[in-house]
Amino acid sequence: MDLLTNILGAIATIILAFVVGMSYGGIVRKITARVHNRLGPPWYQNFIDAYKLFGKTTAIHHGWMQIMGPAFLMVSSVVTLMFVPVLNNGGWFTNLNFKGDLIFLLYLMVFGPLGMALGAGQTGNPNSAIGVTRGLSQMVGFEIPWVMALVALMIQFNTTTITGLMDVQQMSGTWLMFSSPFAFIAAVLAMLGMFRYSPFDIVGAPTELASGPVSENGGKFLFTMMSSGSIFSFVKLTLYVDLFMGGADNLIILLIKTFSIYMIPVLYGIVSPRYRTEQAIRFFWGWPLFFGILAILYAAIF
């Protein structure tokens, strides 16, 4: 493939991720409202919000690290997107799928939050720093079962790449959520924390922390964070679909699969109040850890 096709494919992927992520966000707001017995905003509400934020002036900043914070986040989500296979056969969405593996991806995903945390730190708002410490603590919590699930997959199929694991599913015709169920359970429980819906929304808890790390960011900063957050959630969903649900052959199947897996944290979150930080960490070191160990034992024995 030549460079132009690559670039066009990359842009198409970014647009797809942005649109899907934003729409999902709006649909989640709608669903939440329906569960509350409300009418709720239209599904495209997030687009309106994003456009409005983009149109707002950004009159002030607290220093260049605050400006770089959203940039880090955007870079991290876009670059991560480049490494996640969107469709089984690649095609236009191949991008850099074959140039990195899962461990690389895990670390790349940290790049953005770290930069974002630095940007939040520079604003000097104590709420931002508290939010960041909570987020980092929670990350240590859910990363353990998540990594255990991934390691279980890696040692079961002797590959560390996403494409490798997808090939395994294509070849055998069984989704990994059935052939290594414990890993799937551990990963799904870890996903609850990864998406930061309640009860794990301790980072940006609006009532306690005034939205935490983003509390000093408005206008274009907030727009950037919002859109990279949407792209990031698309990346995570696609990763889950690729790893456990056999990938997707076309966009329709991709949407169905991602949406169905997205409903797990959303529906769990709607009816849950918020945890404290210790409770959140201990949650992940309870049953999820147990299932992670089971997954590794399962993978080691079979």
């Binding site: 707001r29 409202a33 509350h36 017995n37 409300r38 009418l39 709720g40 905003p41 509400q45 309106i48 919000d49 456009y51 409005k52 149109g55 707002k56 002036t57 950004t58 009159a59 609006p206 005034a210 939205s211 983003v214 509390s215 000093e216 960011n217 408005g218 206008g219 907030l222």
Partner: protein, 181 residues
């Protein structure tokens, strides 16, 4: 922002449409009016269907909702919050206290007319205004945003000295602002 609807550019129309449908409210719950916000936002009246949503900090907010009376002390904070908000920004005066002092008309430390200190775009009358009235107020705000008439922030910028003089009259220690928008 442009006053006349006919002279709005197409970009402005789109942007105003977006602003109209995405109102992030910073409720400054100074007085008794704060209690009317929860029913407005929750399932009975569901303001979110209009795109109205709470904002946590002034940096993210579009609308400053001053719910009730303002003492000189709280006015100082409200002015600071207003100045921290990013353009375009609107103010809703909520309850009769913000219009004529309400039941605190003869208090030594409660302002009577918010409009002298901050540019109010929409007043919601009542003591207290019920959620229906609040929704009507949001509707009015949406209407004037769409028409491009919600130019309170511009008014504040143009008449900054007048506003500052008024504010300084009752709050002499108000920090000389370092905002120049």
């Amino acid at each position: 922002m442009i006053n006349d609807k006919n002279s709005q550019k197409i970009v402005d129309i789109i942007q105003n449409w977006a602003r109209k449908h995405s109102i992030w409210v910073l409720a400054y719950g100074t007085g008794c009016g704060a209690i009317e916000i929860p029913p407005t936002m929750t399932s009975r009246y569901d303001a979110e269907r209009l795109g109205v949503r709470g904002a946590a900090t002034p940096r993210q907010a579009d609308v400053l909702l001053v719910t009730g009376y303002l003492t000189t002390k709280t006015l100082k904070r409200v002015i600071r919050v207003y100045e921290q908000m990013q353009d375009p920004k609107f103010v809703i005066g909520f309850g009769s206290c913000t219009i004529n002092g309400g039941m605190y008309y003869d208090s030594y430390n409660t302002i009577k007319l918010l409009d002298k200190y901050l540019p109010v775009d929409v007043y919601i009358n009542g003591c207290m205004p019920r959620p229906e009235a609040v929704l009507a107020g949001f509707g009015k705000l949406q209407e004037i945003i769409a028409e491009g008439r919600a130019n309170g922030a511009q008014k504040y910028k143009d008449n900054l000295e007048w506003y500052k003089a008024n504010q300084k009259k009752i709050i002499p220690s108000l920090l000389t602002t370092d905002y120049n928008w």
